[in-house]
């Protein structure tokens, strides 16, 4: 980013404390995911004390049904949850943007095939489709990532396609064609770079959805396998404990989930303001 756009970014941030907060939280989350597991007081998968203890000085978030320290598990889970979310979004971003841009630029059969693929995926309630894919392929981390990516594919395709087809007849594209550059070059060098800012907005929103998707799958029993710490599984485990009064097992991972998704959503809004103020909603 050039100095001018950085200055523009700073300008927007200073006028918008909510977005600044979002950026701060984002940094915190990523930091937790990267170094958190090294710093936790207890081993997230081994019993650390008596089971079902309420929050105390030793266990700030209490212990769960097997005696594991909830605080350590919540921090350690950040890596898995964010990792899966980023992986899924990276995949769908790459594939979806490329497919959509190609469809928008080339039209014809590319457009039709990509469009049909996206329509077929969108014909299913997205969560149900994710459930089906994970159930069919087996609930490993890889498959959950794939399912999340597949389910978000149509959205990226649609946005990229719209943007690409709008720019299809733009001046600089015509100029490139006249200069003798091939269609592939135009796609990669002219269209895609201009799409990036808008797709970034979508990326941060999808990150939030990906995390919720994993949580929902875990609730049904199609999430990651134990004893891996993951926010969704922890909420599912704590769900039945809520009624008997052990609220901490589900509440803290639930709050962590909420914070992460909240951050990504606000981030998306903020990025949209920076990138395309006309689109501000």
């Amino acid at each position: 980013m050039s100095a001018a756009s950085l200055a523009h970014a700073r300008h927007v941030l200073s006028g918008n404390p909510v977005t600044a907060l979002a950026f701060g939280l984002f940094a915190l989350l990523v930091g937790t995911a990267i170094i958190g597991p090294e710093l936790v007081p207890f081993d997230p998968i081994a019993a650390a004390g008596p089971a079902l203890q309420p929050p105390s000085a030793r266990h700030p978030f209490g212990t769960d049904a097997i005696g594991r320290d909830v605080f350590s598990r919540v921090i350690a889970a950040a890596r898995l949850d964010l990792g899966m979310a980023f992986a899924a979004v990276a995949i769908v971003f790459a594939c979806g943007t490329l497919a959509g841009a190609a469809a928008g630029l080339f039209g014809g059969w590319t457009d039709r095939i990509v469009g049909r693929l996206a329509d077929t995926i969108m014909a299913f309630p997205l969560f149900v489709l994710a459930m089906g894919i994970v159930a069919a392929l087996g609930n490993t981390v890889t498959n959950i990532v794939i399912a999340t990516a597949v389910v978000n594919f149509p959205l990226y395709v649609r946005i990229a396609r719209t943007e690409a087809s709008t720019r299809r007849g733009a001046g600089y594209v015509e100029a490139a064609r006249l200069s003798g550059y091939g269609e592939a070059h135009i796609l990669f060098r002219e269209i895609l770079p201009n799409l990036l800012p808008i797709m970034m907005v979508q990326v941060s929103l999808t990150l939030g959805y990906a995390i919720l998707n994993c949580a929902g799958l875990s609730f049904i029993g199609l999430g990651v396998r134990p004893p891996a710490p993951e926010w969704g599984i922890m909420v599912a485990e704590g769900a039945s404990a809520i009624i008997s009064g052990e609220w901490w097992i589900a509440l803290f991972p639930g709050l962590a989930l909420m914070t992460a998704v909240f951050t990504f959503n606000l981030l998306g809004d903020g990025l949209r303001d920076i990138v395309d103020p006309r689109r501000r909603t």
């Binding site: 081994a46 396998r225 134990p226 004893p227 039945s240 404990a241 809520i242």
Partner: protein
């Protein structure tokens, strides 16, 4: 610029609060509530016909209460003073008396017994029903065969109210097998009118149209949601039931079931996690009845035909590595009977009885080395995801201890519907599972779980001719001393070869309101509505 946002907000809030505060629907008569039981559970019945293909456990309960059988079991008190069926006493139900001979038994049917549509119960109906049970295949046929009831020729109609069963061999299990849920008496006339060429046993019709003589009739069935039973006032096979109606509602979340019980909105539930039962018991607001499930064990099984555990020393190593006490506390919250730490050689012919093993990691490590695995090994531990509440903590704790002796384990959660198939394949090296038999005899248990006939319940493919000889001898032993010697013999081999490591005998827990009386534990672990009643 102001708008009446306050009006909008106030209006919405008022509407919401009003609806929330509306009292829940209260039925007109408190009297009818006292005669109605509301039971909540997790899994719905998928049929009212126990002979039906794929009938599930909840379907057994529906069948038990909608139909009668020739005879039933008596009642005794267990060690906690609760009613418990008595497997040693057989009592009349549809048969008012019987004449037991060496190779046959002749039943005299009650003359006043009527099906729920008013037609009398005759021996022809009994024969049709028994023929059906041994002909449809699957579980009902298998269960009939467990009591040597195998061929239609065994069932003879002597006259309208006399029915004879001829024996193929002398089997002490034949009579009790007539009291299990499977040999129900169906209204053959009604069923045959609804049968077709392709469906001579009326399987499709009987699935949702019970044609029995039982103490309760089916008032309403919304599959997957609820089943409502109403008392059959013309029932003559026993004392008049105390409940006029039983409503069985499906509530998938265990937390919700517990909340309903605690608030008094539901009357009874079986399906709660052990931790919840422990807490409810301590809180004393509800009545919690815990009964050890007869002839049942949760165990750890090791494949004796393929994989590393064909080596008996390795199996013994695992038996010494299990964290028994921790399992009792963490997985079961003390809600089971420990089956470890017993005498080195069996001293009684009781079953289940504790194995001689205890947690001894040093000895376990030595055994692993002796078995020839100085660097340990890698293997998989599988369990039935449908019973994850208990299986998962067991597996996690076991994996931890096994890692400490060099056996590195990956945990494999098998979805409930696959579990049976996986067991059939007999390829899993290490599993934890539960097994119990309806007929409370050690030889019955061992016949299905340890005998070289390699039934699906012998999940470990264990084959030992010595074991088989002792089991066969005990099944048909006439002499009590000979029987007990054979039983102790095969239990001793079970400890020496340890293809299965017993963990505990599970409890059947049920929580109910204090006003509910007459709960009776049955071997089929389902609820018998006929003995229940409510005090004020």
């Amino acid at each position: 610029m102001t708008i009446d946002r306050r009006l909008v907000l106030k209006g919405t809030a008022a509407a919401g609060a009003a609806a929330l505060a509306a009292p829940p629907f209260r039925p007109a008569a408190a009297q009818s509530r006292r005669e109605t039981l509301l039971m909540v559970s997790e899994n719905p019945p998928n049929s009212t016909d126990i002979h039906g293909v794929g009938a599930n456990r909840p379907a057994y309960e529906a069948s038990w209460n909608l139909y009668d059988r020739l005879l039933t079991f008596g009642v005794k008190k267990d060690s906690n003073g609760n009613d418990h069926y008595d497997y040693e006493t057989l009592l009349p139900e549809l048969a008012e008396e019987w004449d037991l001979r060496p190779m046959s038994v002749t039943f005299k049917l009650r003359r006043d017994a009527r099906f729920q549509d008013g037609t009398p119960v005759t021996a022809a109906d009994v024969k049709w029903s028994f023929d059906r049970a041994v002909s449809v295949g699957g579980f009902p046929t298998f269960q009939m065969g467990a009591g040597s009831l195998e061929k239609r020729e065994q069932f003879v109609v002597v006259d309208d109210h006399t029915f004879r069963v001829d024996f193929l061999r002398r089997d002490k299990l034949t009579m009790p097998d007539l009291g299990v849920p499977v040999p129900v008496i169906i209204n053959a006339g009604l069923a045959r009118r609804n049968a077709t060429e392709q469906d001579p046993w009326a399987m499709t019709w009987l699935r949702s149209n019970p044609a029995g003589s039982g103490a309760y009739r089916l008032e309403r069935w919304v599959p997957g949601q609820e089943m409502v039973f109403a008392r059959n006032d013309a029932w003559t096979q026993g004392p008049r039931p105390g409940l006029a109606r039983v409503i069985w509602r499906i509530v998938p979340q265990s937390g919700n079931r517990r909340a309903l019980l605690e608030r008094g909105d539901a009357d009874l539930s079986f399906d709660l996690p052990p931790k919840d039962f422990q807490e409810l018991q301590a809180a004393r607001r509800l009545k919690v009845i815990s009964t050890p499930v007869e002839n049942a064990l949760q165990y750890i099984g090791m494949n004796c035909e393929r994989g590393p555990f064909t080596n008996v020393k390795l199996r013994q190593a695992v038996a010494c590595a299990v964290p028994y006490q921790r399992l009792m506390e963490q997985a079961l919250f003390g809600q089971a009977i420990p089956m470890f730490g017993g005498p080195a050689q069996p001293e009684t012919a009781a079953w289940p009885q504790p194995s001689p093993f205890t947690t001894d990691l040093a000895r376990a490590r030595a055994l692993v080395a002796e078995a020839g695995f100085p660097n340990g090994l890698d293997t998989t531990l599988s369990f039935d995801l449908g019973l994850a509440t208990v299986n998962e903590p067991i597996s996690l704790a076991l994996a931890e201890n096994l890692a400490a002796i060099g056996i590195r384990v990956t945990i494999n959660k098998v979805p409930g519907a696959n579990w049976r198939n996986e067991l059939l394949k007999k390829e899993m090296p290490l599993i934890t599972n539960t097994f119990g038999g309806w007929l409370n005899y050690p030889d019955y248990f061992f016949y299905w779980a340890y005998h070289g006939q390699n039934a699906v319940f012998n999940s470990m493919s264990y084959r030992n001719p010595q074991m088989d000889a002792l089991i066969d001898r005990s099944r048909f032993a006439e002499d009590r001393a000979e029987y007990e010697a054979a039983v102790k013999g095969f239990v001793a081999i079970a400890w020496a070869d340890v293809p299965r490591i017993p963990l505990f005998q599970p409890n059947l827990n049920v929580a109910m309101q204090q006003s509910i009386q007459g709960y009776r534990y049955w071997f089929h672990r389902q609820l018998d509505y006929r003995t229940l009643s409510k005090t004020a």
